[in-house]
Symmetry: C2
Subunit: 350 residues, 2 copies
């Protein structure tokens, strides 16, 4: 297995990012932050999906002044996303946020940054230096070196004030650019890395870009927290993040379903079965591996390595627990019987 790069441990509320801790899954709300009600409701959904740290946009003072209320009403640390105006950062700190994200591309005046750093230190709040290829400081090129340079320039201002509670991100929508920027940065400093592909897009395209970018770096041992960016419902970002960590065996959560692509051999409606099983087990948190296979060709092998398995055949399928045959059931009973097996199996383990 890959060895993780050793990074400084940075405390964010009750969480620790870096220092060899499990990789933290985070997301960002897309509600209007001024609407505390809607924002809290979305954060609750994110939390339920496994989100461990949440960021909100702070476009103006009205949004900043809601942060205290939002924070009091949620169960995970809150990050304020700050652009352009350093006063929004100061207000967010006053409101008690757990972390700031500053964009070195749009708060550039040294004295403003220093003012934020002093206030953050007083409250023990860490800062993410969040570089983004879409909003670099003037004259900085969107190259791996340019992104790293933008980060280091801001980091040096923080370090000069003896401030080291720093997390760093170097996002780009261009995947090879993003990958190379993180690799370069990791040779310069040991601050924990927040991985992400920015502006990844919607649906499949967005997932593909996020997965290649973060998955490649994670396999090289880089990354202490990840955010998958997808246009749309952020709950999906959290689900995809766990799928990445699960595929790489870095973290496990809930049902991991192995299922075949179906082919001319498949004699049951496997796609429907997979979707139903997935939906019925959506709320599960304990890790369990389930193989749903259309025929015996690879089915027997996969069922043998899963906690619970299904091997399809004409008119139904055979259920397995850890490779031991349990029973044969007709197609219309597969989902019910399988879900029952899973829930019972979970009970015997806990």
């Amino acid at each position: 297995m890959m060895e993780r790069s050793s990074t400084r441990a940075v405390r964010v509320g009750e969480l620790i990012i870096g220092g060899g801790r499990p990789i933290i899954v985070q997301s960002m709300t897309n509600t209007d932050t001024r609407n505390a009600e809607a924002t809290v409701a979305q954060i609750e959904k994110l939390e339920q999906a496994g989100c461990e740290l949440v960021r909100v946009a702070v476009p103006d003072m009205e949004a900043a002044s809601r942060l205290g209320e939002i924070r009091r009403r949620i169960g995970i640390p809150l990050v304020a996303d700050i652009h352009y105006n350093h006063r929004l950062a100061l207000k967010a700190l006053e409101e008690g946020v757990d972390k700031l994200r500053l964009n070195p591309g749009n708060i550039t005046k040294r004295e403003y940054i220093e003012e934020i750093v002093s206030a953050a230190r007083n409250r023990g709040v860490p800062i993410r230096v969040g570089v983004n290829a879409g909003s670099l400081p003037p004259k900085t090129k969107p190259t791996p070196e340019g992104l790293v340079e933008a980060a280091l320039r801001e980091i040096e201002i923080l370090e000069n004030k003896n401030f080291y509670d720093i997390v760093v991100s170097l996002k780009a929508s261009d995947v090879p650019l993003m990958i190379e920027a993180y690799r370069l940065f990791a040779r310069e400093r040991d601050y924990p890395l927040h991985l992400g592909v920015t502006e990844a897009g919607a649906g499949e395209a967005g997932i593909v870009k996020s997965v290649i970018g973060t998955g490649t770096l994670l396999q090289e041992g880089l990354g202490d927290t990840i955010r998958v960016s997808l246009t749309g419902d952020p709950v999906r970002e959290v689900r995809v993040a766990y799928e990445i960590l699960q595929a790489l065996k870095l973290r496990r959560r809930g049902a991991e379903i192995v299922s075949c692509p179906t082919c001319g051999r498949t004699l049951i409606d496997l796609e429907k079965i997979v979707n139903e099983v997935k939906q019925r087990l959506e709320r599960m948190k304990n890790p369990i591996k389930i193989a749903l296979m259309g025929c015996p060709v690879n089915g027997l092998g996969e069922a043998g390595r899963a906690d619970v398995g299904l091997v399809g055949s004409r008119g139904g399928g055979t259920l397995y627990i850890r490779g031991q045959m349990v029973k044969r059931v007709p197609e219309d009973r597969i989902v019910d019987e399988l879900v029952e097996l899973v829930l019972n199996y979970e009970k015997t383990r806990s």
Copy 2:
């Protein structure tokens, strides 16, 4: 950029796999192969989506006897997927398929394999040695070494008959296992590699596994053809395959859409806009980069690097061509005006 590993060139119908040629996108039907009508119809859809090579299951002699008809009616080379019964392979060759896939796990008798090889050579048809961790030969362990050993044992039978038109795959549903198996194999032989994660699953989970597995190897310069395996409609497999190649800049096809994840700053319904634009441009084949951004924070930078860009603001957005502002439009006109710009832009380029 990554350097591609040099592999032998293997001809499959009109296509060449390996030898530094562009990476071929392939898929597999999930219709009943005995139903030639349905199978041809699905292959036509796959072709339209960009599929360049298609495989069909051959569960019995009736299916095998349809292969000739299917092949005559489609525009891309046809691969017969053979398990258990060597006579199905001989029949498939008789029917004129362009490539065979043999599973070393379930046709194990040397003389049967040799019989297939002679017939394949007579017709100039290549063979994929398709190892799968779910169906390994008896006593072979599902480890990277075990998968490679299973491939080499079969390859040696082929090589002993002076047959070298070989493509190799070493699939597993376990992503790190699959990655390591391909890496190990690439040190042993220079046959072109067919990359894939098997039994990846449905929806997001399946995409994530396929992307990490194939994306990691492609970045190391390994892989001459890829198949994304997803439970469900195979057209999706082709779309995801192109997204992977596009993200890694290995191939481009159609509209590449960069879009932000939306946040509390977003003042237009960006998700809806992205989905509509995507749908309207689905049939485009020429590569074009489009940035759809909710606000100016990263919007100006992304629009500057795209062929056509949108930067959202209250009640509408501004359209850009290669970073030059074109016009401001109200929200309900964004999709129409943007699609028109894209189509005009395409005309001026061609």
